[in-house]
Point group: D3
Chain length 240, copies 6
């Protein structure tokens, strides 16, 4: 069974929530280079989640309830480039804990955060951990793009590079503006786990080669991601 | 000119924001009785805002930029009824101030909050006041349903009663479940400005007579509201 | 019955609070132009409240308990003019929720906030809403100057203009310094619900024509306000 | 020179604040046994401060500006006894830092906190330290009753015991209800610096022998305290 | 060069910090089953860090400065088992941001967090991200036990299981109490990224087979970990 | 009995905590002039505490449990001099309340804070007061250097002057760099309870004559302090 929290009423939710997995897509509204829509992260997180849920809901061991997508995330590192509406990590943590508290108060027991923005990783992890002990709700979190790695044939996601640009093209080509070739491969910090404002400035706020993205590649990747997320949903419906 | 923040890129936003009015619809995801979709408040705030902006953008003195709707609000008073995902007022204040801070950092100078939920009134007012002095952004806020009062022929809005139910029917009849007649008129506190958990319990979490709502009335009210909001947008494009 | 919380002891309060309405005047200490005392907002809120309570307490359906006036409010928008001691909205919200929490812990069930400062409106509303669900206390809030509107024959209140200046003259003429004529009518934002630091700068931090205020007009308005607030107290003693 | 902040206007304050010492009395509204007014702490802090300022202002090296008394303090430990309106320490710290921030923004450079409540000691100290580095304001704080110790012939202050009861009797005998003899000396923790809810319960929320307090002793002690505080004001006017 | 921040003075630090990498070990004080010392996480994070720094400091491209180990972390999920001193994630985030703010104020530009506790992962990530944009400090973070995975021949770390028990035995056998055989392999959630209080209760707060840990294995693993961390330090001295 | 919390396991702690006194040393990592180690405050607080506990534990009426030393404190006033890692008072208050909450959740009933840094005094006091009512734990706090005053023959402690320098010399002479004679006695504010950034700047961040400190005097003072703290521990083991 698949339903959107906001499209149904309290009667149905009061019945479903004790058994259901609630899925909350979370993204960001932030600069994605001069070419890509600022809503990329939440638009993709929402689209992949919906597609995955459509694919598997009738095989899932539990009802799936989609909560309204949170379109804002922790994007302070993108503020210097403009076009960014960011929550501080303190605020984002409070938001996620408030929502989990509400879920528990409404009888819910299981939550999955599907995250679409690198800057949210830490807070999603921290909120999931805190909510599990504070409200006794089981919380899973995943970054949708990490599922791409498992398939083996997509490039490292990056930010506003070929990966995201292709996925957005596959959603709606109007969300991508003209892209100019970059003369050489560009990337963020070479060492995992390094955060640096300077390294973002150096690459003008986006990675690798968005100009090489195609709608066709985006469609393939999107289906791979949705499929992988669907498999994870089936697993979680058993395990959570 | 009318554009969605999330559908465009930083280049365009960096050009538009110094002159534009940014419009942020804000609602709630909360119980609306046994019959009405929990997303009512944000769905209506967003729909009225979009329609109003469509109506007037080519006559407005400034570009209109629609920010992603915030689907969560301060709904703690609805938690006892289930089906509610609420932010505390502390968190909602932080969210709105973070977004206003971001707007200022991105070069924006004017913000309009279009609120769709009674429980957000105070925080919208406080956030607008604080943001104007903290970030030197001009901020206006309004509750879309207050515009209905000015037209004279809609009932007092209430919560999940005839007014909201009709407006939602006009959006999508699938968002409204079967409604049972109530034997007598029911209402919240008779005196304005009174907040009481007991009074919500007494009326089972919704006001007046949702069973009397019709799709047709909803369509009329919706057009009235969108028209009135459009007029306000034109005024604000001059004044803000 | 009418008593001040701070003038009596715990024994009497423990007896009274389960039945009483507690009334908390709240104002601000902030610049009121070059001519008017910075304590205007809390001095007037306290004076009107006391007079109203005196007028009606022996007819009220519940005991009235006056809490100590909170002389500080959310006045950040007045800081640029000097003479201002302001709480951020975050702090004011915390103060009001702490006091409501204490009221509940002390056995109180009903609170009325009588607000004397425009900058507090949003937080009073938000605190009242939050307290009603967080501590199950019934909370009403009102802005004393809104009662003037109902009487029909006072001007729009403004800030440090003819209305407040006259009311303060009627309290104590020593609290008003020499006033110079302004050459033309001045006002804040023409559209309700707009917050703008620039608009305060434009009018030098005060509205309309304080130089036209008279002690006599102040006395008349004061009695009207106290009478209207008294009537509201009688209503609330029934309804809260 | 001596003036109340709230009784004068921004023009005068803008002139005075760069040179003046601003004095902020702070107390509490909390249970003081079955016999003593809950406003004791702020009423006494305010009274001693006013009297001291009257005594010395014309000899002081700087103008003295009295800010409105803060009638609420950190009294959570008294909540179990009723009659208490308390701020958490987190909130009180925020209040004092907000006020100091405002003072600095208004051109003030020197602040003295005159504290009347034991539960505020820590936060006054912390706020003074933080404000001095955060806003570069020089801040002194003192507990008015500590000045009594220096005179040698008053008893250890205690809470709602002979000391405070006598001082309140000297202010207004109506603020003290009938007192019953206690069969034996009672006190709080014997070791300084120990905080224990149990020890407050053991002594029913007040110390020693309030029934032995007399108006006459209260008058003598009050004059001693005011004199000592006056001397401190003269010192601080040189040193701060 | 290798020095401890707390063992040297401001003169030396003011010279070193603009060039140095500051390393902050962070752990937890929390239950580690009935057998293992509660200080395990910070003791190991500190020991591995010190050993790694000793191994490589004379080859590192930058001076290494060890900050005092933070012995408390986010361990709320262990509170139900006793023996746990935990910070909420909100507090831990504030601590790390305060320390990073201080580092920047003291002239530092590069920070490495070496984390020893699974519950800190999210907050370390969030704090590193926030600090990099808020204070323009480059921040790297790593979990020391993740380095074990790279070597290939250590088991999945777990909590208080064979891995940590062996490492602590190698530090000091007195920190490990008698261990009883468990009848079957036990583990936490099978799916990565799931947080559940129930799953901790099910395994009595510790994973796998601590009774199989040996001092000898601990020594080997410790050297592997220190070597791998040393290599990472050399990399970061180039890249950060 | 004497044990370190972090050196033992939950089994032993669960048995001991209901009866034990937990002792938490807290210091700071902050500039101590050009000559003295920045870790002075926590190194001394820890050393004195350990020595005192060693001296008396077998005579104490309750088991003594040493918690891991908190090496960071509220040192914002030292940030301008460099070499300082400071927590804001808001954060330090949160840390201490989190730890007390954990202690209570782990079954502990008694806590002693041994403070080694002047800037922590207020927050230790506030946290102790709040924890006693919020978590019903008995909390004592003391500043170790105040015990020196009682012995009569040590100088006023100061900051990084003769007192602290001598005590650190007695711990480890390598922690003290060359000291240059100061031409005249220097001190902080002459009036107790005054906080001023300017007064710290005037004395270059340290008081009196560190160049007169000797290792021998340090040893004597250390033993006096440890003895006095031991006596206090015996008292508290009876009283807390």
């Amino acid at each position: 069974m698949l339903i959107s929290w906001h499209h149904t009423n309290r009667s149905e939710l009061n019945e479903l929530l004790p058994e259901a997995i609630v899925i909350l897509p979370i993204g960001a509204t932030e600069q994605h280079g001069p070419h890509l829509a600022t809503g990329t992260d939440w638009i993709l997180a929402e689209a992949v989640t919906k597609q995955a849920a459509q694919l598997v809901h009738d095989r899932a061991a539990r009802p799936l309830v989609l909560a309204p997508t949170l379109p804002y995330g922790a994007s302070d590192h993108h503020l210097p480039f403009g076009g960014t509406l960011s929550l501080t990590p303190e605020t984002l943590l409070a938001v996620l804990l408030d929502l989990t508290r509400s879920l528990a108060a409404s009888g819910g027991r299981r939550l999955l955060l599907v995250n679409g923005h690198g800057g949210n990783i830490g807070i999603c992890h921290a909120a999931a951990a805190a909510a599990s002990s504070r409200y006794d709700v089981n919380v899973a979190h995943l970054d949708y793009w990490q599922l791409a790695r498992d398939t083996g044939d997509t490039p490292v996601p990056g930010h506003a590079g070929i990966f995201e640009t292709a996925l957005v093209l596959a959603q709606d080509e109007a969300l991508v503006a003209e892209r100019h070739p970059r003369s050489e491969p560009l990337s963020g910090p070479a060492i995992d786990g390094v955060h640096s404002a300077e390294s973002w400035r150096r690459i003008d706020g986006y990675t690798d080669h968005p100009e090489r993205a195609t709608t066709e590649a985006g469609r393939i990747w999107f289906e791979q991601l949705a499929g992988a997320l669907g498999d994870r949903l089936l697993e979680l419906a058993e395990a959570l």
